[in-house]
């Protein structure tokens, strides 16, 4: 259960980083309030060059992000227009891998657009058809242009797909009035462990720029992690409670079945501490017998499902609407595994206290009659 939730949350975070957010984003401090084009990074090109030299950075790219409308003959929809640098974006996000129909940007052609399967269906569009993008430029004037659909993408995150289209930055920078500039720089770092270090490096180098990591940009994702953790603990609690009842039941049965034997031990001179420890040791050996089997089964299940995944294809729409993949790849760290085993042992021993107490209260004379 823990591995399942872990896998689900890890996948959600990985998807968010590799498809949607990257690890770190740089913006003008006012930009994310209203997403106005005028709040740009005027030295974006130089910043990009400097960031790419950072040893912790794996890839980086500049973007122009505009709030606008996509329209077809069938209707229109509010969307985020992502003007991306095609070559750099390939290293930064997996947009190209998410294309299910058509091809990635061609450097020789202009006004190409990549839309999602959701938008295609909603606006009844298709490959090679034209669509109109409308947005505000730097001065607040409406600008619009026709773009030809060159490909359709599909991620596991339905809401994201409904709200994002991608165009070549070259086709949109002059239209938006911020030629050769960006209003967003996204950074992918080499390891999640370097996140804080990398963010601090950037903050020192660009003190007037807003530099946020993925948890700050999408606090709901951080919330997902903590809610997921809480869910895991709740499930763990339920499972451990069931274990506790199982142990209490088993040990109570063992004591009831052996009342006479325990009475005999008390009569012969086995003191209460020894009886108490005997019950605890029995419980410990019970776990020792059951745990390795459980561990092996869990390890085997995780090892297999880590490769094959657990397919919840029938619920893919529901999963997608929350940004989750319908195939879950369970994962569990050694530390988590160790904690689980420790919790099981502690719970079992704790559960044995009640039966052990019952054993201590036995009257030898009465017990010998049983």
């Amino acid at each position: 259960m823990m591995a399942f939730y872990n896998g689900m949350i890890e996948q959600r975070i990985n998807t968010a980083i590799s498809t949607e957010l990257s690890h770190i984003q740089l913006h003008h401090p006012e930009f994310r309030k209203e997403y106005e084009v005028k709040y740009r990074l005027p030295n974006g090109r130089k910043m990009l060059e400097s960031i790419s030299k950072d040893s912790t950075v794996k890839a980086t790219a500049g973007r122009i992000v505009l709030k606008g409308m996509v329209a077809s003959a069938s209707g229109s929809s509010g969307i985020t227009i992502n003007g991306v640098m095609p070559t750099e974006e390939q290293l930064l996000t997996n947009l190209k891998k998410k294309i299910i129909k058509g091809n990635y940007f061609n450097s020789e052609k202009t006004n190409e657009i990549i839309i999602s399967e959701k938008i295609r269906k909603k606006l009844k569009l298709d490959l090679k058809k034209k669509t109109i993008l409308t947005f505000q430029d730097k001065e607040g004037n409406l600008a619009s242009s026709a773009f030809r659909i060159i490909s359709i993408y599909k991620t596991i995150n339905g809401p994201y797909d409904e709200a994002n289209v991608f165009v070549n930055i070259k086709d949109i920078d002059s239209l938006s009035g911020i030629e050769n500039e960006f209003n967003e720089i996204a950074v992918l770092i080499k390891s999640s462990k370097l996140l804080e270090q990398s963010q601090n490096n950037l903050k020192k180098r660009f003190p007037t720029t807003e530099i946020k990591n993925w948890k700050e940009i999408a606090p709901e994702l951080g919330l997902t992690v903590s809610v997921g953790d809480q869910m895991v603990y709740i499930f763990m609690g339920i499972i451990l409670l069931a274990l506790a009842f199982g142990i209490v039941n088993t040990m109570m049965m063992a004591i009831l079945e052996r009342t006479r034997e325990l009475g005999m031990l008390l009569a012969l001179g086995m003191n209460k501490l020894k009886i108490f420890l005997m019950i605890l040791f029995e419980t410990f050996f019970l776990i020792l017998a059951g745990c390795p089997m459980g561990i092996l089964l869990a390890l085997a299940t995780i090892a297999i499902t880590q490769k094959t995944g657990i397919d919840f294809g029938r619920f893919s729409e529901a999963y997608s609407s929350f940004g989750y993949d319908s195939i879950i790849y369970p994962s569990l760290t050694l530390k988590q595994f160790g904690i689980m085993i420790l919790l099981v042992v502690i719970t079992a021993l704790f559960s044995a206290l009640f039966p052990a107490r019952r054993a201590l209260k036995l009257n030898p004379a009465e017990s010998l009659k049983k």
Binding site: R260, E261, L268, G269, M270, N271, L273, P364, L368
Partner: protein, 238 residues
Amino acid sequence: MQETVIDAHNLSKIYDEQTIPVYALNGVHLHITRGEFTAIKGPSGSGKTTLLNMIGGLDTPSDGYVEINGTKITALKGNDLIDFRLNNIGFVFQSYNLIPVLTAKENIEFILLLQKRPRKEREQRVLELLREIGLEDKINKRPRELSGGQQQRVAVARALAPKPQFILADEPTANLGSVSADNLLDMMAKLNKEENMTFVFSTHDQRVIDRARRVITLEDGKIVADTSPTKIEHDQTE
């Protein structure tokens, strides 16, 4: 003068004291001296086992007290009482009560382990006892591999192992055939004679009664007869 091992004074056990009182024992006085071979007889429900349980510190009296070698065991509680039992009283039960997963040797050794005796001493004592009860060839047999009589002999050896002041045997021959019962009684009589070990039996078995040197008869929780060759303390006061 004979040394008093067991001194029970005005022992009573009343069940359902608050509603309809039932007297399992009613003001019993009893002295048993070292080396006695005593049988307590009486019909079912006369209080034989209750009296044995009181003497053995397995049950607490509603009134009266029991002294073993001058120690008032009815005043002892918890582990003090358990430790006293371990070091001073040997028990033999009707249905042997050996630990089924242990061998004959281990069953006898177990009680010495509780006494934390050193290994060498334990092994010596176990071999000595097995020899005494004539089961040295069954040393590694588990209870289910032994006959009823053999199991009861192991139980006697277990009771003797810690060198107790006396042995309480509750219907020791009840589950045995006549040959096994006779063998067991021979062995106990031998131990009584050679080692001056005190035995107190509760029994219905005429063979045991015939072999006993003192027979105490209980009826309705009272001693109604005592054929003690030594001191007879017999209280039939209402």
